[in-house]
């Protein structure tokens, strides 16, 4: 987790990458999207302020997944017809990267899983089942979303994407999976649905009157 300090290529303000696995961050001052190459930092775009959002999680929130502590490092916010949700990037003790998805306070932790045989979007209709890691997952939702904003440090370059298809799957128990069709090839994330208390979240947002 070596910190690397540098200056924003756009406005010169200090930029810090707290995690070595981070590729992209957002400059707090000018809101430029800055990516880290082998040589230097590059500005690739600008993000607008994130839309109004009720998530209780924020950059810096700490929690625990089972016995593994983690910190929230960044976020991608998506917008779809019914509203928005967040994919919070978490970094576990030891450096592993994961995601905490937060859709109207429904939380789930998932990690990328390499799997060469993933279905195309049209091959994963509602109610269809797949077997991964010995668990049967059933498609529970298909959402067409577009990018609404980014914040903090992300492990890849990601901003200003057009509509992306997300397919969520769940098991009989609490297993959770997402098929992410952002790129040419689908990506699979597998994990578990978690509730707020089970994640032992600390340093969460406070709300007036609560």
């Amino acid at each position: 987790m070596a910190s690397q300090s540098a200056s924003c290529p756009n406005c010169g303000a200090p930029i810090v990458f707290r995690w070595s696995s981070s590729v992209q961050t957002v400059c707090d001052h000018c809101r430029s999207v800055v990516i880290r190459t082998d040589v230097d930092l590059q500005k690739v775009g600008v993000v607008a302020d994130l839309p109004l959002d009720g998530s209780p999680i924020q950059i810096g929130t700490e929690g625990q997944y089972g016995d593994k502590p983690f910190v929230v490092a960044g976020r991608i916010m998506y917008q779809y017809e019914q509203g928005t949700w967040n994919e919070w990037r978490i970094v576990l003790d030891g450096g592993a990267d994961g995601w905490l998805s937060d859709a109207q306070n429904e939380l789930a932790i998932s990690f990328r899983v390499d799997n060469p045989h993933l279905p195309a979007p049209e091959m994963a209709p509602l109610g269809y089942s797949f077997n991964w890691n010995g668990v049967e997952f059933t498609v529970v939702s298909r959402t067409l979303a577009h990018y609404a904003g980014v914040e903090g440090e992300l492990p890849f370059q990601y901003w200003d994407k057009t509509d992306v298809m997300f397919v969520d799957l769940r098991s009989e128990r609490l297993d959770f999976a997402t098929l992410d069709y952002s790129d040419d090839k689908p990506t699979l994330y597998i994990g578990k649905a978690m509730d707020f208390d089970a994640l032992r979240l600390r340093n969460v947002r406070t709300f007036e009157g609560w």
Binding site: G54, T84, L126, N203, R205
Partner: protein
């Protein structure tokens, strides 16, 4: 639960209605997709800084929520939910009135949207004084995507029976919602029950299905957890997932009844096995009705031994198309204690148009109860038709007689309470299902509703 660490607090905000200018508080900190102007009822876009109007309408009828918006309390404590979540405050932030139409009659129910910034959204629904706390499910129950398909559904190992399918229409909205609402919009809904729980599926025109799980709660608990004044509305009828106060009781009673019946059967069999049926006296007599009228006589003395027990006196005759009456008196030779009883025996038979018939019986038995032991004799006085034939009859006195009468009485008394209990439970269930789609044809109205 949260340490501020200097991070900014998310503030409560309010929006000004572009239609009427009134200010409406927004309580859900960025979750609100729709906000209803508390003054004119217009539905505003909660995410648009310019606060666009999404639906404008004049409300003919304004519905007042029984639980005012802004009410807070630890309402989840009324359910069987576990964990710190149930000890957290939830606030009423939205209110909807929805209805279904059955045979032209509108059945309305109310939904209250509950919010907690850390635990998200739940619902409190009410119909006819029956309350449910409802949570949206993320997994799909088995059985197909369309909510109404399948007579039963399975979820987390429990089977739910389909109660009703209907088209639900939104009639009135107030407050704010994390999804799009419009007055007049309809959704296909289906309810499945496994009291005290109810599984509900809802599908809007865009074919997206949402499933939720409701748990029945007592209105009294709702009122106390939310610290509401007054009393909750009175309950009408039996609700779809209302738990039966009788179900368990009937089963327990039948289990106890089985034990009791087994015990009774054992005692009865023991009684049958140990009843000696001892013949204390037997003799054959002849009675000629044409003879002298006062034909009474006494038998020799015989012994009735053992504990006080039943005595059976048998009269066996050779009657043929005749009747005879026998007046008995069983007299204790020592004490003079007398037991009187008169018996009548008649037997008629013949052939009529090729068919033989008979009426009556040639023999008669009578049982006397609790005769103490001692030396006894019988005084016998026969009587008959003056024109009849002589009758030969054998009189037998049997001591310590077996009877199954009391066993039958006991069986009846033992099963009456569990039968009553089962009947009460069945009546309750009948009333429950009378409101469902499966109601018997006699009641043509598919009453009630359900909730999300």
């Amino acid at each position: 639960m949260a340490e501020a660490q200097g991070r900014p607090v998310v503030s409560v905000r309010s929006v000004n209605c572009p239609n009427c200018g009134a200010a409406t508080a927004v309580r859900t900190f960025g979750h609100a997709v729709n906000v209803v102007c508390q003054s004119c009822g217009s539905i505003l876009d909660g995410k648009d800084p310019g606060v666009a109007i999404l639906q404008q309408y004049t409300q003919a009828v304004r519905y007042e929520p029984l639980i005012p918006l802004g009410t807070r309390g630890k309402i989840l404590r009324a359910t069987s939910a576990s964990g710190p979540e149930r000890d957290a405050d939830h606030e009423v932030v939205g209110f909807q009135v929805r209805q279904i139409l059955v045979d032209g009659v509108a059945y309305q129910w109310r939904e209250y949207l509950l919010f907690n910034p850390y635990y998200g959204f739940h619902y409190l629904t009410e119909y006819g004084g029956h309350w449910n706390v409802v949570t949206t499910l993320r997994s799909l129950p088995e059985g197909g995507a369309t909510p109404g398909s399948g007579r039963s559904r399975s979820y987390h190992g429990q089977t739910y029976r389909r109660f009703q399918t209907a088209s639900a229409q939104t009639v009135f909205v107030l407050g704010e919602f994390p999804w799009q609402v419009r007055v007049g919009e309809t959704a296909a809904v289906a309810d499945y029950v496994a009291p005290p729980r109810m599984l509900s599926g809802e599908m809007t025109a865009d074919k997206e299905a949402t499933w939720s799980l409701g748990e029945y709660v007592d209105g009294v608990d709702v009122w106390s957890h939310l610290s509401l004044p007054g009393a909750p509305p009175a309950r009408e009828g039996v609700f779809a997932n209302q738990p039966s106060p009788f179900a368990g009781a009937a089963g327990r009673m039948w289990r106890a009844a089985t034990l009791l019946l087994a015990l009774a059967a054992l005692l009865w069999v023991m009684h049958l096995a140990t009843a000696r049926e001892k013949v204390a006296f037997a003799q054959v007599f002849t009675y000629d009705p044409r003879g002298i009228q006062d034909s009474s006589f006494v038998t020799p003395v015989f012994e009735l031994d053992g504990r006080p027990s039943a005595v059976r006196v048998e009269t066996a005759t050779d009657l043929d198309n005749q009747w005879v009456g026998v007046g008995y008196a069983l007299v204790n030779d020592d004490t003079g204690q007398t037991y009187e009883f008169a018996r009548e025996v008649s037997y008629y038979q013949g052939v009529d148009e090729g068919e033989s018939w008979s009426e009556g019986s040639r023999g008669d038995d009578v049982t006397l109860s609790r005769i103490p032991s001692g030396r006894y004799f019988l005084r016998i006085e026969p009587e008959g038709d003056r024109a009849g034939h002589p009758v030969r009859y054998r009189v037998r006195v049997v001591r310590d007689v077996a009877t199954s009468l009391w066993f039958l009485v006991a069986v009846v008394l033992i099963v009456i309470p569990p039968i009553a209990s089962t009947w009460r439970s069945a009546t309750f269930e009948r009333r429950r299902w009378a409101e469902s789609d499966d109601a018997p044809a006699a009641s043509s109205h598919d009453g009630d509703d359900d909730d999300e």
